[in-house]
């Protein structure tokens, strides 16, 4: 075996072994770190964010991949009602929750009174919405109301009784990922007394 062959054989072995040996030495105390990088661990851990008042939150509310400027969606103004189309519209201000552009292609859900089980209508967005990192956008959701729903809402509006709302058959298509939920309670809403004229 000549010298060059020996040198090339040693070189091949060194190339195969040395980088892996160095990594093993670096991670000798935490071998799991060889497979699960710190970025992924941090992503799954909780981090910071802002609450709806704009105050910094450093508790367990948000994982690290959530944009630190993220705020929970906030209703903008009061719902409006168009009697001609029996359509009620809600506008929410929402921040891109992650550090990249996200497109909400579809959003649809049924609206049901949690306490009485009255079906109030369907909620959709009229067009896809693109959220850019760190930016906020207004999302207007439209709900077409049935006659029963209008009567139900009128009674609650006149008496200023909050309605506890469930969203049912929730379908959201965000950035090519479809999220489906049988039912999600979104809490109380108060119907403005003058909304139905």
């Amino acid at each position: 075996m000549n010298k060059l062959k020996i040198i090339l054989t040693i070189l091949t072995i060194a190339i195969m072994v040395v980088p892996i040996a160095i990594e093993l030495a670096i991670y000798k105390d935490t071998l799991i770190g060889l497979i699960i990088p710190p970025e992924l661990t941090n992503m799954m851990n909780s981090g910071g964010g802002h609450n709806s008042n704009g105050n910094s939150v450093t508790n367990d509310n948000y994982p690290d991949f959530i944009n630190p400027d993220f705020e929970m969606p906030q209703q903008v103004g009061e719902p409006t009602y168009d009697p001609a189309t029996k359509t009620v519209s809600f506008t929410f201000n929402i921040t891109d929750p992650v550090e990249k552009p996200v497109t909400v292609d579809t959003f649809s859900a049924g609206i049901v009174s949690h306490d009485d089980g009255v079906f109030l209508g369907n909620l959709t967005i009229s067009k896809p919405i693109t959220l850019l990192p760190g930016q906020t956008a207004d999302i207007t959701a439209l709900g077409i109301l049935s006659d029963d729903a209008i009567n139900y809402l009128k009674i609650h509006a006149e008496n200023q009784i909050p309605i506890n709302i469930d969203l049912t058959n929730l379908n959201v298509d965000v950035g090519g990922i479809t999220i489906q939920l049988d039912s999600q309670n979104i809490g109380d809403i108060t119907v403005p007394p003058g909304i139905f004229g």
């Binding site: 060059l4 990594e23 550090e99």
Partner: protein
């Protein structure tokens, strides 16, 4: 000083060796294989030289894979250089060793890469996450994993141009080895027939 004569050059090796180094540089920036989940919400960019992941805009690498990428980088670098040196000095005494050292490595890298992909996708499939090596499909995350929420995502995998270039480089290196063997065999046959004619 290397005395290079055009008729002595193994052109397959010269082009193959150059292409190995081109593939090395390209692979730093462009993956051999790419997996995209949703609309770029999660990505996997894989090659023996540079493999990285992205999730919701956050890029990351896996240290073990990073070490293997260093191995891949050094293999491509050394075999490319060795193939180039061999290509212009195929008649030197050390040329055989250089060729033996370099000609198989690109092919082994390509095969190793494809086999790794097959194993990973098989393991993912057996865990219930069908990952397409080529083409698109939809994966559903079990709803019991995420508090009753059903999540499905489009997922597409595809080989990229750098992978095809690596196959061409590997093929050229193998061709260079075959050409070298035939040329030496031809010279030996010619020498043997000359000797028999003289006797």
């Amino acid at each position: 000083v290397i005395d290079v004569q055009a008729k002595e050059i193994n052109w397959f090796a010269l082009v193959g060796g150059t292409l190995i180094l081109v593939v090395l540089v390209i692979s730093i920036y462009f993956p051999w294989w790419q997996l995209i989940i949703g609309e770029n919400l999660a990505t996997v960019n894989a090659s023996p030289v540079n493999t990285n992941f992205g999730m919701l805009g956050v890029p990351f690498t896996i240290p073990l894979i990073w070490a293997l990428n260093i191995v891949g980088t050094l293999i491509f670098l050394t075999s490319g250089i060795a193939m180039l040196v061999y290509s212009v000095t195929p008649t030197k005494s050390y040329s055989k060793e250089l060729l033996s050292f370099s000609y198989k490595k690109p092919l082994l890298a390509v095969i190793g890469f494809v086999v790794s992909l097959l194993i990973i996708t098989y393991v993912a499939g057996s865990l219930g996450f069908g990952v397409p090596i080529m083409g698109s499909t939809s994966i559903n995350l079990p709803s019991n994993l995420i508090m009753g929420v059903s999540v499905s995502a489009s997922i597409s995998g595809s080989f990229q141009l750098a992978f095809l270039l690596a196959i061409v480089a590997a093929a050229l290196c193998i061709t260079a080895r075959i050409y070298d063997g035939r040329r030496k065999f031809g010279k030996e046959s010619f020498a043997a027939s000359s000797e028999s004619n003289q006797s």
